[in-house]
């Protein structure tokens, strides 16, 4: 029987996808011959909403453009506002902003590594990296009060200072994470299954990466040496020394190595920031009304270049806010990478550009149906509640945990 072309729609709701988007794949056998993307299912009208709100409200709004790189968006936005207003943000404020940026990159890249592991059936890697990611989330919570949507920024600086007691905690966490990441680098370079599964998958040549406008680790893994932190330095990146990690594999394997390399660089950056951070004020007072003007701000988010354009009209609300998140630049690249590849590679190729998806908070609000009362649960209470709930269903891990402990101790 002659081979027929088959069209396969994936999405907008599909178990493979972490957020709604729709792909129409044309298949010849197991090979993808063409693909079109339909986006916009998550369009929330944030740019329009910004025009009707004050600058400070907008800052919190754009922080919610993304659940992972929330600090990226709020920083990118206020950098533009601060430029229009002519504000000189104090050095210490900029250092703290940069510190949160790099901690955010660490949590985002560790998250990606887990997702990548999961997509290729290497769930041990997911469990390991997401366990480690908790460490950096704890540090972010310690410094900002939140695991995501940190609310650390304000126009003119940052809202919270870093205390002397917090610094050793950050450093010791970074030491641990660095050790763990070294192990992942070892896994990445020596584990044959991982290397073979990812090599040659989702190919993107350097020429195509440049032509199609790929950004972030996706571009750098195709040998494109572009990083806004280095090329158009903002915050205090001009005072820090770091390497822009590139790789020539030009496939998903290369994208993995770049992110691993960027994790190692991020640890170095955090140490440098803490060492070089000057004493002094963390914020300057910003006017409520921003004078007329316009500015463009660029920021190297974990996923790539984030671009914000802000136009001010002299009132307390912006005339126009434009956001170009990195995924929009990279999603065009995905179609190209999937072409001539296998259908089974689709999940990991899409995941390899690290498309954005939301992260949940650890505290949950529950409403008691009987009395309508709302309670907040913190993590330990939620954990205890979970263990109790399962033991009532007859599933008890206490015995298993005890056994594992004895085994570990006897080793």
């Amino acid at each position: 029987m002659p081979e027929r072309e088959v069209k396969l729609t994936i999405g907008p709701q599909h178990p493979m996808l972490k957020e709604p988007e729709s792909f129409l794949l044309t298949l010849r056998g197991e090979k993808i011959t063409d693909m079109t993307v339909r986006l916009g299912y998550n369009h929330r009208g944030i740019e329009k909403a910004c025009e009707g709100r004050t600058y400070i409200q907008d800052m919190y709004l754009v922080e919610r453009v993304c659940g992972i790189c929330s600090h990226s968006h709020s920083t990118c936005f206020i950098q533009a506002v601060e430029e229009i207003a002519g504000l000189q943000v104090p050095k210490r404020g900029l250092y703290i902003r940069t510190l949160i940026s790099e901690l955010e990159r660490i949590h985002s890249h560790l998250l990606w590594l887990g997702v990548a592991g999961h997509e290729i059936g290497f769930d041990t890697l997911l469990m390991y990296t997401w366990r480690d990611r908790e460490l950096v989330m704890d540090i972010l919570a310690l410094l900002t009060g939140n695991r995501v949507n940190y609310g650390m920024n304000t126009i003119g600086g940052v809202r919270r200072d870093i205390t002397a007691e917090q610094i050793p905690q950050i450093l010791s966490t970074i030491d641990t994470l660095e050790e763990r990441t070294k192990y992942y680098v070892q896994v990445g370079t020596q584990e044959i299954t991982l290397r073979e599964r990812l090599s040659g998958v989702g190919k993107l040549s350097k020429e195509d990466a440049i032509h199609l406008g790929a950004v972030g680790p996706t571009a750098r893994a195709s040998g494109v040496n572009r990083d806004v932190r280095h090329d158009d330095p903002y915050a205090v990146y001009g005072e820090l020394s770091f390497n822009v990690i590139t790789d020539d594999h030009s496939d998903v394997y290369g994208r993995t190595l770049v992110r691993l390399g960027e994790l190692m660089e991020a640890y170095k950056l955090v140490r440098q920031i803490l060492k070089q951070m000057p004493e002094g004020p963390i914020v300057v007072k910003a006017p409520r009304k921003i004078p007329a003007g316009q500015a463009i701000s660029r920021y190297e988010a974990p996923r790539g270049e984030d671009v914000h354009y802000v136009k001010a009209n002299g009132s307390d609300k912006p005339e126009r806010v434009k956001v170009r998140a990195p995924t929009l630049a990279n999603v065009q690249v995905v179609a190209h990478m999937l072409k001539d590849g296998y259908l089974a590679d689709t999940p990991i190729v899409i995941a390899a550009i690290d498309p954005c998806f939301s992260c949940t908070d650890r505290a949950i609000a529950t409403t008691n149906i009987d009395n309508g009362r709302t309670d907040r649960m913190d993590w330990p209470t939620l954990r205890t509640y979970g263990i109790d709930w399962y033991s009532k269903q007859g599933i008890d891990f206490a015995e298993l945990n005890r056994k594992l402990r004895t085994m570990r101790e006897s080793n």
């Binding site: 088959v6 079109t36 440049i210 406008g213 090329d231 330095p233 500015a295």
Partner: protein, 172 residues
């Protein structure tokens, strides 16, 4: 300081006879230029090919009252951004696509089509972005006179979502 930026400003001014007040060096690595729609294509090509602005950071669309504005944010690898601004009349908002040179522009231009009612000549056929299929015609959310309650007063026609489904069925 600003040597490179001033040089670019001078090159643009000399070659295209742009008045000095139309080109501004805002700060290090930031240049803004206001150009006429008729000469935009030529200036854009020159900036990309001859001045090395090879990265398209994004395209911003603006509602400027009687006109619609477009800003092409193009960058050099060394970090300098040239922001080329052009205005077209609102009753005939036609621009030419730059997606041949920069395929990534496809999404940015479709965004202006959907949200501002821009007409982009030469845009290849493809899915709309970002509004849903069946969004009422003539409703442009980023125009200043558009309010979110405007939509409630317009009947919504669920046309193209159905046709997409059929297309898949036929081929499968």
């Amino acid at each position: 300081m600003l040597v490179e930026e001033e040089k670019i400003k001078q090159q643009l001014a000399e070659r295209f006879g742009l008045p000095a007040e139309k080109i501004t060096v805002q700060r290090e690595r930031r240049i803004w230029a206001d150009v006429q729609a008729a000469e935009f294509g030529e200036i854009f090509d020159y900036a990309v090919d001859k001045l090395g602005f090879v990265i398209l950071a994004t395209i911003t669309g603006l509602d400027e009252g009687p006109t619609l504005g477009v800003i092409y944010h193009i960058a050099r690898e060394s970090g300098i951004i040239l922001n080329l601004h052009v205005s077209v009349p609102k009753d005939k908002p036609v621009i030419k696509t730059v997606s041949v040179r920069f395929p990534a522009a496809d999404a940015y231009e479709r965004e202006m089509v959907d949200l501002l009612g821009m007409q982009v000549e030469g845009l290849p056929p493809g899915n709309r972005y970002p509004l849903p299929d069946g969004w009422p015609a003539g409703q442009y959310p980023l125009r200043k006179d558009w309010k979110s309650d405007t939509l409630g007063k317009t009947p919504v026609s669920p046309e193209s979502e159905a046709s997409r489904g059929e297309e898949v069925k036929e081929d499968a």
